[in-house]
């Protein structure tokens, strides 16, 4: 340790340092592409569905959703939120969306990337690629951006089969067929827009890389079931970005292999992410990006966040059959992300609990003592199931929850000191339920 440097409560992974530059590179590439007159797409996170197609067509993707986290983390978001409000967008809309709408309005006003935009800003798009996956903001926000950008919006369609209906014959096949047909339309749309043909060999190559990234990153998270937990949620949130936004890239695969090796080594050596792991917790769903230091204070108390943010985890290895057609292959992977939790639960004879399914499985497999739930003022998707999750985990697993309200972008609605003041009482609750589980022989 360098003299004078204080040892942090969370023992961060060294390999995480390889990953952050990959995200920075993404923004630099976007600005560079625009300067060179190459196509740039503003994209929603799309669960590995549209990115490989864009990259195979040599379109540079930029992710306003991720940019929201960047703006929040460096304190630039409040200005953009204010502009969005002034433009007439309701204040309850997605914090990432409001940040982006404010950014776009400012960019149009200034006629260039806004001055002092974090990490070089986002270049003007050639097209926008929304998605209908999970939340309404993913397509409504980009539709709303048409006020500022006179460029086409393409929406990637995501079926949402019901938790019971996925077990009915025909549901999965109908969904895969639809997604693949829509992806074919997307390719046609890009070919018309860009005046060039899809490079199918390149697409297959990118898919191979993407699937390897998903595999390695999934295996890494499986290692986190170890006691003590070798990797803290803070590292997950730093490391997840290349998988979400750059899984087709070779550097991402190399980075994830290094992360895997480091986590594997920690498990073998019995090294935890928190020096004295007293409690194993899950965080749901999106963190307060503006106040991540909060987790260090909890780590000082022995709270180790061993799993988190279900929506941003890679799916387990594909069990939905295969196909040589690259578009159907993409469709199967993406659908698998959405249905794997229920299909796995049934296979393992776990209770089927609809929206709380992944959390129930994690509570069991990661041996959780408690959950820290973060209802978000501006995110209904990330918040909807939290109440139900609290009830299900308490009733079925004797695992308690602590609820701390806040927002992903707007720091004014997160009260860190109030949240920390509840820590002692929640530790007593976790101790109580530990005894209850012990008596039940769990």
């Amino acid at each position: 340790m360098i003299a004078g440097q204080q040892k942090r409560a969370v023992n961060r992974l060294e390999s995480r340092k390889l990953m952050r530059p990959l995200v920075d590179k993404m923004y630099i590439e976007g600005v560079q592409a625009a300067l060179e007159g190459k196509p740039v797409a503003w994209c929603m996170f799309n669960w590995w569905k549209g990115d490989p197609i864009l990259r195979a067509m040599e379109v540079t993707p930029v992710y306003p959703e991720n940019y929201g986290t960047v703006c929040a983390a460096v304190g630039a978001a409040q200005e953009y939120l204010g502009i969005s409000d002034a433009e007439g967008f309701p204040t309850h809309l997605c914090g990432y969306g409001r940040n982006c709408l404010g950014y776009a309005a400012k960019m149009v006003d200034e006629g260039q990337v806004p001055s002092q935009a974090p990490i070089g800003g986002m270049a003007k798009p050639t097209l926008m690629m929304g998605s209908s996956g999970l939340c309404d903001a993913r397509y409504k926000w980009f539709q709303a951006l048409r006020r500022y950008w006179d460029v086409p919006v393409w929406v990637l369609e995501f079926p949402h089969p019901g938790p019971n209906e996925i077990f009915l014959e025909g549901t999965i096949d109908n969904s895969v067929r639809y997604m693949a047909a829509e992806l074919k339309e997307f390719v046609n749309f890009l070919e018309r827009l860009l005046g060039k043909k899809m490079d199918w060999d390149r697409l297959r190559e990118l898919l191979n890389n993407q699937e390897q990234v998903l595999q390695v990153w999934w295996e890494t998270n499986e290692l986190r079931k170890a006691i003590p937990g070798p990797m803290h949620a803070r590292d997950f949130w730093t490391i997840m970005a290349p998988c979400l936004y750059g899984a087709t890239e070779k550097e991402s695969l190399e980075g994830y292999k290094r992360v895997f090796q480091e986590v594997r080594a920690r498990v073998d050596a019995g090294i935890g992410a928190v020096a004295q792991e007293r409690y194993r917790l899950m965080f749901a769903e999106l963190p307060p990006w503006h106040s991540l230091g909060f987790f260090d204070k909890l780590a000082e108390r022995g709270w180790n966040f061993v799993i988190e943010s279900m929506g941003y985890h890679p799916p387990p290895p594909l069990e939905l059959g295969g196909s040589n057609d690259p578009l159907e292959r993409i469709a199967r992977w993406t659908l698998w992300f959405f249905v794997s939790s229920s299909l796995h639960a049934r296979k393992r004879d776990y209770p089927l609990v609809a929206g709380a399914q992944p959390y129930l499985t994690w509570a069991r497999e990661y041996k959780l003592d408690g959950l820290l739930l973060h209802p978000l003022l501006t995110c209904r998707t990330g918040t909807f199931w939290l109440g139900r999750t609290t009830n299900v985990l308490r009733d079925q697993m004797d695992v308690p929850s602590l609820i701390v309200e806040g927002d992903i972008v707007d720091l004014t609605v997160f009260d860190e000191s109030r949240a920390l003041s509840q820590a002692t009482a929640f530790e007593e609750t976790m101790e109580h339920y530990r005894e209850v589980r012990k008596k039940r022989g769990v």
Binding site: C94, D136, Q143, R146, R147, V155, Y178, R380, F384
Partner: protein, 387 residues
Amino acid sequence: MIQASAKGLDHARQVCRNREAAARQSKAEGRKLMGYLCSYPPLEMITAVDFVPFRLLGDVAEPVTRADAYLASIICPFLRSALDLGLKERYDFLDGFLGTHVCDCGEKFCHLWNYYLPSQYHHFIDIPHLVHEASFDFLKGGLELFQSTLEDYAGWPMSRERLKDEIRAHNQQRALVRELYELRQVDPPLLSGAENLEIMVALMSIPIEDGCELLREVIAEVKERQDGPQKKAARLLLWGSPLTDAGLIELIEGLDGNVVMDDICIGSRHFWPDVELTEDPLDGIARRYLAELKCPRTFRETTESYAKDQEVRFGYLGDYARDWSVNGVIMQSVRYCDTHGYEVPALKDYLDGIGLPNLYLEHEYTMIALAPLRTRVQAFLEMMECS
């Protein structure tokens, strides 16, 4: 209480205000009731197996107390209220529930409802967000699956002819609703916006054939009435998310405005388009519910310009404004409705573009939340008079 002797407008008002009693009455007559949410469930298929469709609504007069344990306060207050009523056993007469993917919270609500309020029959139809040919194929596949589960539950096959009969019956009701709306094209309108809303709620609470009879009575009565709304300076179109109580409209109509047309899903949005009678009735049903319903939850393809996009998305509102001689628009939404919320600036751009003054109101789906809106509506109406 619903009096047996009640007719026309009085009957509609009584059903609206006692809709659960109306449902229990259907039940007592040996009918089975299928609850549904929003405007996307294909009601023709529900009635084709002799279920009475009953739309789940909230109640602005009932404080949410039970649903707090399941849904955070930032979730759609309309859905929170509907769940609260379910947990308080106010919908315990339902024999089944049909959910559809209407919006993100609506979709999740359907699964939550099924978990905490299970019924004999439950099904969820995944409605696409896009209007492409592949979307119709996908939806038709979902409808076929729905049909097979319904048939299993009912114990008999749903014939094409029976389904076509049901389409005709529902189209007849839709035609009557459009005829009712025409009574507000004159100045002053023959029917108030508040009265209209109560009729719409009533229609969503009783069997289709009873609804048609009710509409015929109301239309005949309204055409002859002498005590209709007074002429006022503002002829308003009301746009937005579900509105189930007439309070907001009464507030507006208590000032210098008549609500003469609406684009809300307890209103024209729900009833306007017919189902085309196609050889395979599921084709017509898929097309109507996916392409013809005008809810912001469905993404319409972008075009070569923002201006043309607006025409594609909102052009029908311009038609309403012309046909109902509208001179102002009130956009309203329950707080935390994302699909309507993102729509507001673009819709405002469109309305500004066609020269229609407009106002956006957000409310909490409670009675008391309406009071502060009065001043804003009053100022808007005064501004309209000055312009």
